[in-house]
């Protein structure tokens, strides 16, 4: 079984990327692979915002989906510099299990994983 790491630079509800992150990670876990981490840079930092509130009841909550992954042992990390530039630097805004950590964390993921999936614009 392999070790998967995912990296994303786009925000929620704009591209399919955030949904792909969740579905890919979930499917990999279901198939018995390890998802060692998800790192969010640039607008990706918004995906971990616990205040995300879709107004349509049937719509998926991207932050909650990622939180679900964290509960399954996936490490969620986001860039503190990007967060600061976007005014969401308070860790109180993050879903449970997510933290801010510098870009060296991306290098750590690359060094540890078997497959690295990068999603952006």
């Amino acid at each position: 079984m392999g070790k998967l790491a995912i990296y994303i630079t786009s925000g929620p509800y704009s591209l399919q990327n955030s949904d792909t992150v969740y579905q890919l990670a979930k499917t990999a876990l279901d198939k018995g692979h390890e998802v060692i981490g998800i790192y969010e840079q640039v607008d990706g930092v918004y995906n971990f915002n616990k205040n995300i509130t879709p107004l349509a009841e049937e719509d998926r909550n991207i932050a909650k989906q990622l939180e679900e992954l964290a509960k399954l042992g996936v490490k969620l990390k986001a860039c503190p510099v990007c967060a600061s530039y976007r005014g969401v630097q308070s860790e109180d805004l993050l879903v449970e299990g997510a933290t801010y950590e510098g870009l060296g964390a991306v290098a750590d993921l690359v060094l540890e994983c078997d497959r690295f999936v990068s999603l952006g614009y």
């Binding site: 870009l103 290098a107 690359v110 952006g120």
Partner: protein, 117 residues
């Protein structure tokens, strides 16, 4: 471990180059074999005499000069320069290697990871 950063977009119009540069720096600081390749509109990053003060941004070419001091190897795709009418005299004074598309393909195939910005 050999990692390639592909820079494909012109600077200032999007944050891609700046964020790619930051990530590239982080990899190089961890002493990973880090390579930056400028292709497509990414070659505009290496243009000499950039002055984006008028739009309130710092010039990006100065930042890229820092990569050399971190032992990042820089490559510029020659065809991309030709397509855009850019001559070598137009490029910043920095240590780089000009490559063609088949050399680019070889570099990518020899790397462990390629990250595209």
């Amino acid at each position: 471990m050999k990692v390639i950063f592909l820079f494909r977009k012109a600077p200032y119009g999007s944050v891609n180059d700046v964020e790619g540069f930051r990530l590239c720096t982080a990899f190089a600081a961890m002493e990973i074999d880090t390579n930056a390749i400028f292709i497509d509109d990414g070659v505009f990053v290496a243009l000499r005499g950039q002055d984006p003060k008028g739009i309130g941004l710092p010039p990006i070419d100065a930042a890229y000069k820092k990569l050399v001091s971190l032992n990042v190897k820089l490559y510029i795709l020659e065809e991309a320069l030709k397509e855009r009418g850019i001559s070598k005299e137009n490029l910043i004074d920095i240590e780089y290697k000009l490559i063609n598309r088949s050399e680019l393909a070889k570099l990518i195939s020899e790397s462990d990871f390629t990250l595209s910005f």
